[in-house]
Symmetry: C2
Subunit: 601 residues, 2 copies
């Protein structure tokens, strides 16, 4: 029996030499993607052997991997057996969706350079002979012990200063941001930071030790603004209607964040009053709703943000109950539909240093695409619609247990993989992409996207659809001709955005050295399927990289590092936004890009 460690999920198992790595992972309930059932044909259960000895490479694996991947010890988990203790890394796209969120807990690889400085000071109690005022007493101690010059003290800290000094017996830990004292605590206080990625649908919250830069805990939650509409446009309309709505839309998020911060703090035996710094990212509309900035102008041409530049405000000014004088940093926006979350993503993937020609794509209801060509950064935003989120799709659903996430069709033989291996209940975005690509590969769909006869295609009262799974109780899970059209619109918008950026630089798509796919959906999709239907350019697969929730990572980078925060400012300022509506021959180009094929020209 060998000891096998799985990273990044941090699970450990004992495994005999005749049990495959896949079986070993399954025993631990690690959701390794496997469509073919473990016979080496679907090639989804890719892992990397970090250390230790394993069985010989099989011919199936030799054809599945490039030479470079083989040198990096990539293997298919279903065909690989342990020969010693092992350490195994599971790439993000080999994990099923609910498991993949765990990668967000990975440590950051930058040196912490926090905005908050912490000082332990010992004050001299005042006497009639030297009746030193409390504020001056504190500054004297800081000067004496740390050579810190006199600055400001936040009003709320001033309001607690005198009783606190006395109860703490004149020995306190001080949190300073630049020249301002923003919090006091007993000597044992660990100052915390909060990084928050507010998505239209989901919010990711990370609690960080501000001195070490380590992520202590994290939590995902639904964005409670959904009660005002699934998409940002309906929320903009609601906020524009009344001040009361706008206030409610803000307080929904703020209340949820206060609760989440409290529960994250509790999980590490800390208190929200120790959160001394916080960074927030989100798209421009979410950013504006969070700060109660005006949103009407976002909804009408030319769709300008009220605020592009980074904002620093006291957290109490937006209703957050953190350290008394804590600041919230809102990373900068780029344009009305290219927000701070995009900037955070670009920061996390190191767009400024990548090159010479790198494309970053964050697919969602709104897809933001950014090209860095030789240091010139340009972004576009495409209205790709909610199809990838499961909306407007007959059996669409979010990535949740029972969602069909991967599909293979060979003639009449259909293999499906659901999240968690549960009985199929619907189709999530990556599943929809796979199905359409497989239908296209098998000639069931033609280049125009029209569905043709096939044993699994049926026509029920004029509704043409492909049956993915038959169910006794709740009706079959199908993909309809209309679903295909929805996806076609979405993929066309994305491809058009990519082309607009490339052409603005006088390049062709062939010149793109690397395509970085960020965001939840971009991480889960099968890149070959996306290429097959013409959503992504037809480039060699090794030019694509799927990086997970990079916006959350960017927010954490800006939280723990002063220079990373400055770098984000630079990225946002350098980012030359192109408004798709200003592109000549837009309609012609749209028609071309809607072709369901690898080559759209």
């Amino acid at each position: 029996m060998f000891a096998v460690d799985f990273e990044p999920v941090r699970r450990h198992a004992k495994c005999s030499k005749d049990k495959s790595i896949l079986d070993c992972a399954r025993e631990l309930n690690i959701g390794l993607v496997s469509i073919c059932g473990g016979v080496g044909t679907c090639k989804h259960c890719r892992v990397k052997i970090v250390s230790g000895e394993v069985s010989e490479l099989t011919p199936e694996e030799q054809s599945a991997f490039s030479d470079r991947e083989i040198n990096q010890h990539c293997r298919l988990a279903c065909l690989c057996y342990p020969r010693s203790d092992l350490k195994i890394y599971i790439p993000s796209d080999s994990l099923t969706a609910p498991q993949r969120t765990q990668v967000e807990g990975l440590e950051l690889e930058v040196e912490p350079e926090p905005f908050i400085r912490s000082f332990d000071v010992q004050l001299t109690p005042p006497s009639l002979g030297v009746p030193e005022p409390d504020d001056q007493n504190l500054w004297s101690a800081l000067a004496r012990q740390y050579d810190v010059a006199e600055g400001m003290i936040d009003l709320k800290v001033q309001q607690q200063l005198s009783p606190f000094l006395r109860s703490a017996n004149w020995q306190v830990r001080v949190a300073m941001r630049d020249d301002e004292i923003i919090a006091l605590g007993p000597s044992s206080t660990r100052w915390l930071g909060l990084a928050v990625d507010i998505g239209t649908t989901k919010i990711a919250v990370y609690l960080v030790d501000i001195e070490s830069g380590k992520t202590l805990a994290s939590k995902g939650l639904m964005n409670p603004q959904i009660s005002y509409g699934e998409d940002v446009v309906s929320r903009i309309v609601a906020a524009g209607k009344s001040h009361k709505n706008a206030a409610k839309l803000q307080s929904l998020i703020v209340d949820a964040l206060n609760m989440t911060a409290a529960s994250l703090c509790e999980s590490v035996h800390a208190d929200p009053s120790h959160i001394a710094d916080a960074v927030f990212v989100g798209n421009t509309a979410i950013h504006h709703l969070f700060l109660q900035l005006p949103v009407q102008q976002l909804g009408v041409s030319p769709y300008v943000p009220a605020v592009r530049l980074a904002v620093d405000v006291k957290t109490r000014d937006i209703g957050l109950h953190f350290a008394p004088g804590a600041y919230a940093h809102l990373m900068p926006n780029v344009a009305g539909y290219v927000g701070a979350d995009h900037v955070a993503m670009l920061l996390a993937i190191g767009i400024a240093e990548a090159g010479p020609t790198v494309l970053a794509v964050d697919i969602g209801t709104n897809t933001e695409i950014c090209l860095n060509h030789k240091g010139r950064i340009t972004s576009v935003s495409c209205a790709s619609g909610p199809a990838f989120e499961g909306a407007h799709i007959k059996h669409g659903m979010r990535a949740a247990p029972g969602a069909i996430e991967h599909v293979r069709l060979l003639g009449e033989k259909l293999d499906i993989q659901t999240i968690g291996g549960e009985p199929p209940v619907g189709i999530c975005g990556s599943g929809l992409l796979d199905i359409v690509a497989q239908l296209r590969l098998n000639g069931v769909l033609d280049k125009s996207g029209r569905m043709h006869p096939h044993p699994l295609v049926r026509n029920l009262d004029g509704m043409v659809e492909f049956v993915l799974a038959e169910r006794t109780n709740n009706g079959d899970v199908t993909v309809s001709q209309k679903d295909v059209r929805e996806l076609q619109l979405a993929k066309t918008a994305i491809r058009l955005g990519i082309r607009a950026l490339v052409e603005a630089e006088g390049l062709t798509e062939e010149s793109i050295d690397q395509v970085i796919l960020a965001g939840a959906f971009g991480t889960y999709i099968d890149v070959e399927s996306a290429i097959e239907i013409g959503m992504l350019p037809d480039l060699p697969l090794d030019r694509f990289k799927q990086v997970g929730n990079a916006a959350g990572t960017g927010a954490r980078l800006a939280l723990i590092s002063r220079s990373q925060r400055a770098r984000a400012q630079q990225i946002a300022l350098r980012d030359g936004y192109i408004e798709l509506g200003t592109i000549p021959d837009f309609n012609l180009k749209f028609a071309q890009a809607s072709a369901m094929s690898r080559s759209i020209v």
Copy 2:
């Protein structure tokens, strides 16, 4: 008939050559002090002829004035008649109390150097081709037109930015404080400043044009915290009892200031949202109650302030409804019983530049005294008690119509002067001081302060008292032996403070070049009376100067001038506070100083 202008009260009259200046002033209801009834003996109706010809100097006037005063065209109004059109200046101490508050409206004599800069900018409306975000658009315009570098925009300004730019047709006036945009208005906006002197009893509020430095309007009001006690100690106790009390004590002042600011603005056709800067002074307890700082430690030895240093906070953080991003500047304190109002007074009288040996005295329930000897500034605080405010005095009252404010006794002949010439209803502080001094001069009081027989002294059931005015309905107005003792305690405390400062510098009182009497009470008192009873040192009268509400003037100076504000910081920092309780032989010195005589040693 000649035209006569009275300054600073700004009243104009026609006057024939056989009507005295005093009669002319009386016709205008200007409250010129006159105890003797206009026969040249009380010498209180002193005025200065600024321009024009008047009647010859009389022998009475020759003996009333020094040569220097005569050269400055000083005259007694009752003995002086016009010979041409005149411009006449009435010194503060020749005006009866209610008139004297008008001097606070005098213009300041410093060059305005406001913290707030105002810029008129014209923005370029955004288009699809150049969809410039609104914040960036504003900064671009400021850079283009004024070379102003990009800074911050207050959150509340961000929240109104987009609709305001559109409604103002992209043409706005911007108020900046350092690198922060704190308010927006239409191009016609005049930015205003508010200077506030919060006294324990009264509040003085000045509305100032921030660019010209001119005082546009001012208003006095009672401090509504009086419902929690007349003195600060009872308010400290109340605030220390519960957070609710502390919040209430703050909101009482804040609500009153919001109302006063609104009515002052209305009087000059402006809006409180145009108040872009505000300066507040008050004693340390009032300062702390205003900011809701902890006050318990102020009430117990060693009586230290929570906050000594100057405080800058958003006015909205203390509940004031001014410009969205306006700051309140609270001038620095010196010690628990030497507050920002004292610093403001020292700024207004130019203590730092005066010398070589100058004493500044602000008499009140608590009397603050400051000595500048060759650049070394030291302050003490004396608990002089509320006798000067009329409290604990049988017929004591505040300076209001009907209050006896000046008294002369010659043998059995008693002359009294009441505020407004009304029938006497009580005695205000300056009246009490006069009576006790006159009783001492006439031998009715001995050096120990004991009251001896006199035709106007009566003994009613063991209560020895001097009758000042007989009244049919409400009983006579009298000064009792007990009242004399109260005043004796007060004057002893003040004199001890003066001696402590002088002795700390190794000097005698004789070395004091100038004694500046500030504050309402110090302005109204008869200096000779104060010397007679030993309250003030026995120095030549021309070394005394009565300057009125200098704290309010200091607040206005700090409001309109950046360098004056910096100077106040310097004064507060240089001020070496002496705690009277630490002085050796205190009891012995107290006994000496209680002697009711010019010389106490």
